[in-house]
C-alpha cells in the first residue's frame, strides 16, 4: 500500500509539472474505471462516452493545479460525477423529449444480468455508492469525498444500498426459480 501511495504521489508531482507522459499514465490507469462508472451511472453508452470525454478534458485542464496530497481516484471520479450531474441539470432545463430509457449492461450470464438489472433499478444515490465501493473498489472514505458526505453517512448509505440491492436480487432470483418451476411442469 505504501509503494502504491508513493507511486501515486510521484504521479501527482509529475502532473503538477504538466508532464504529458504522466497524463498518459493517469489516463491508462483511470480511463476505463471512469467510463465504467459513467456507463452504469447514466445507463446510456453514447452519453457515457460524451461525459467521459468531458471528464478527461476537465482533468487535463486542471491537472497542473492539483494539490500535492491529492487522491487521484477520488478527484477523477468526482469530476466524472459532476459531469453527469451537469448533464442531468442541462437535460432538465432544456426539457428534452423523453429519450430511450436507460439500458443497463446486458450479459449472457443470467446471474450477472440480474445484478445489472437490480443495480439499474436502485435510486441514484444508492447506485453511486455501490458503483464506487463495490465495482471500482474505492474505500468508503474516498466514496464519501466523491459524494460530498461524511464518512459515517457514506457508510450508512452503503449499508442501505447494499440491503436494497440484496432485496432486489432476492426478488429477481425468487422470480427466476418460480419461472424455472413453471417451465419444468
Amino acid at each position: 500500500m505504501a509503494a502504491h501511495e508513493d507511486d501515486e504521489r510521484a504521479l501527482v508531482q509529475r502532473l503538477r509539472r504538466a508532464e504529458r507522459q504522466a497524463f498518459r499514465e493517469l489516463y491508462a490507469r483511470y480511463a476505463q474505471p471512469s467510463f465504467r462508472f459513467l456507463r452504469r451511472l447514466c445507463g446510456k453508452h453514447a452519453l457515457a462516452e460524451d461525459l467521459h470525454q468531458e471528464t478527461w478534458l476537465a482533468v487535463a485542464r486542471h491537472a497542473a493545479g492539483l494539490e500535492e496530497e491529492s487522491d487521484l481516484a477520488a478527484w477523477i471520479f468526482t469530476i466524472a460525477r459532476n459531469q453527469f450531474r451537469s448533464a442531468q441539470r442541462r437535460a432538465a432545463r432544456v426539457r428534452l423529449p423523453e429519450s430511450a430509457p436507460p439500458v443497463f449492461v446486458a450479459h449472457d450470464d443470467p446471474a450477472a444480468h440480474d445484478v445489472e438489472q437490480a443495480l439499474g433499478a436502485l435510486p441514484e444515490g444508492h447506485r453511486e455508492i455501490l458503483l464506487l465501493v463495490g465495482i471500482e473498489g474505492l474505500d468508503v472514505g474516498q466514496a464519501a469525498k466523491i459524494l460530498g458526505l461524511r464518512a459515517d453517512a457514506a457508510r450508512q448509505r452503503l449499508a442501505r444500498a447494499r440491503a436494497a440491492l440484496s432485496d432486489l436480487l432476492e426478488a429477481a432470483e425468487g422470480g427466476d426459480v418460480a419461472r424455472e418451476r413453471r417451465g419444468g411442469r
Binding site: R17, A18, Y30, A31, Q53, A60, E136
Partner: protein, 107 residues
C-alpha cells in the same frame, strides 16, 4: 487505484459479486480520440512552470503589507462613515438628558 479492502476485514459476498461483473469498456478508438483531445487542452509545460515560478516569486512580505494596508484603509473608511453619520444624526436622547440636567441646575 486504492482498493476497498481497508473497509472491512471480511469480504462482503455481495460486493465481491458486484466486482466480478463483466463490464462493457470503452473501445480503443473512442479511448484514443478522448486521450488526443484531452492532451490538446493540456497546458504546455513551460507556461505552467513559469506561472508557478511567478507565483512563488511574489514575496510573502509584499502580500502581508498589501493585506495590512487594505485592512487599515477599510478600518479608516468605516470609522469615517460612522463619524459622518453621527454628525448628521446626533443622538437626541443624549441632548434631552443634558437639557434636563441643566434645568435642574438652574433651580
Amino acid at each position: 487505484m486504492k482498493m476497498r479492502d481497508r473497509n472491512d476485514e471480511r469480504p462482503d459476498p455481495l460486493l465481491e459479486r458486484l466486482r466480478a461483473l463483466p463490464s462493457q469498456g470503452l473501445d480503443d478508438v473512442t479511448s484514443a480520440r478522448t486521450l488526443a483531445r484531452a492532451e490538446a487542452v493540456l497546458p504546455d509545460r513551460g507556461g505552467s512552470a513559469r506561472g508557478r515560478e511567478a507565483r512563488a516569486a511574489t514575496p510573502r512580505f509584499t502580500r502581508w503589507v498589501l493585506s495590512a494596508a487594505l485592512l487599515g484603509w477599510g478600518t479608516l473608511y468605516v470609522w469615517g462613515a460612522v463619524d459622518a453619520l453621527t454628525r448628521l444624526f446626533p443622538m437626541k436622547a443624549a441632548t434631552t438628558t443634558v437639557a434636563v440636567l441643566s434645568r435642574s441646575t438652574i433651580r
